[in-house]
Amino acid sequence: MIDHSDHLSMRPLDSVTSKQRVAYGLAFFILFVALWSWATFGGHVSKTFLANPLTMVQEGYDLLVKQGFVFDIGMTIWRVVGGFALAAIIAVPLGVLMGAYKPIEAFLEPFVSFARYLPASAFIPLLILWAGIGELQKLLVIFIGSVFQVILMVAVTVGATRRDLVEAAYTLGASDRGIIRRVLLPSSAPEIAEILRLVLGWAWTYVIVAELIGSSSGIGHMITDSQALLNTGQIIFGIIVIGLIGLLSDFMFKAFNAWLFPWRLA
């Protein structure tokens, strides 16, 4: 008999209850804030370099209520969503085609693999030259950062479709188009949704970099401004807001996927 009475004992791959999961997750946040408080309130770190949690909350309130930070948040979200949607619209069909048709894959895969390693942030000076410092430039940074990743990952997913399902569909009279529309797409759809969720997370890091340079709005812009004023409270608040939005969009994406693909959870 295995004894499960001791709640603190851990065994490999043993599951936790959902209550425990929430409690453990919260515990780390509390630990994190406690360490931060100890470092700042205890005087172990200079105020100039790191604001304490209370100052951060005050600065955040000030930002939201008096300085119109909500508009900056809105701008940043629109850039991420816009650039990411643009990338997805082009990358998903291309990835599906590459996964389904090996000649197309052989044609595009080497270039896309190369382009994937080009850092999006390094394109910023070039994009400013091409597209100015307007919204298009910001969208293009996100686009370049996401599009090649999505293409490759979607191609791999579609290419890994179970062969026996494809064969079964053929023996049921499916045409080549039917195979793509009714086997390859539905079988890879949940994976593609997961890929988009993952890459959306990366897109958030690109947008901030794009906003640090040559921008007059957005969370990244606020952070550069605050740096000039040595306002670490605002910087940290900005970073935390990005984290919270990321967490929220992740939750929404997960819930949406679960709703879209009930057969996976059945």
Binding site: R162, D164, E167, S175, R182, A189, W263
Partner: protein, 261 residues
């Protein structure tokens, strides 16, 4: 009238990484007539699945040809329904949608294909499970759905590749009776591959015994047991006699494989 002709069909898998080419199937002839239930019996590695895949059009013969009603098989098609050993239901479709897959591909309107699907759902005893996902079904239920899916397409010939191979013995016996019941009622042309001797006799009107390495037809044995057959037939002297004979045939082949392994 359905006639499937397998004429001098052979299959050699090309050499790979310095290994010699593998001859999976020697030139083979076999004719299957209307409403025939033919079982192909052989040890693993005798090329029986290769032969079935060639008939299905999922594999190409190295030589020879397969014709169905005079038309040469060049690829897979709805006229040859197939049930695989692995579970191949589409996980994103419900039982009803899986069974209606081929009808939908042909452009049959939804109301009509649901009617056809529901009739087959009843026939394989899955009433009440129409809207279940494959994940929620047992292995036996999944294979029953797969059989219904192949039958709903109304193929000229039904090809089954060890469809009950992954099921436990009790479920397997029930599935055999169900399949035989459908055949006795609806008169379908069936080609059934198995390594289970009892299954081959119980289901088949003819048992084709295949030899191993290289795969070729070794013997053909007619099963003159009356229809409808129930599970009780498995203990009759006639059945046992046939079984003894096939056990000997298969045993020599299995020994050959074991020696070469």
């Amino acid at each position: 009238m359905t006639v499937l002709r397998i004429e001098q069909v052979s299959r050699t898998f090309p050499a790979r990484h310095g290994n010699a080419p593998t001859r999976a199937l020697e030139p083979t002839d076999l004719t299957i007539g209307n409403n025939d239930f033919v079982t192909i019996l052989g040890p693993s590695g005798c090329g029986k699945s290769t032969l079935l895949r060639i008939v299905a059009g999922l594999d190409r013969p190295t030589s020879g040809r397969v014709t169905l009603d005079g038309r040469e098989v060049t690829g897979p098609g709805a006229d040859r329904g197939m049930v695989f050993q692995s579970y191949t239901l589409f996980p994103w479709l419900t039982v009803r949608e899986n069974i209606a897959f081929g009808l939908r591909e042909r452009g049959v309107p939804e109301a009509e294909r649901n009617k056809v699907a529901d009739a087959f759902i009843r026939q394989v005893g899955l009433a009440g499970f129409e809207n279940h996902w494959p994940k929620q079904l047992s292995g036996g239920m999944q294979q029953r759905t797969a059989i219904a899916r192949a039958l709903a397409n109304d193929p000229k010939i039904l090809l089954l590749d060890e469809p009950f191979g992954a099921l436990d013995n009790q479920t397997r016996a029930l599935m055999q009776e169900m399949l035989l019941g459908i055949w006795e009622r609806d008169q379908k042309t069936v080609l059934f591959v198995t390594h289970d001797i009892e299954e081959a006799i119980f289901l088949g009107s003819r048992v084709i015994v295949m030899s191993a390495r290289p795969g070729r037809i070794k013997a053909e044995i007619a099963v003159d047991l009356p229809h409808p057959r129930s599970y009780k037939i498995k203990t009759t002297p006639e059945f046992v006699q046939l079984k003894e004979r096939l056990v000997e045939e298969i045993r020599t082949e299995a020994l050959k494989v074991a020696e070469h392994a």
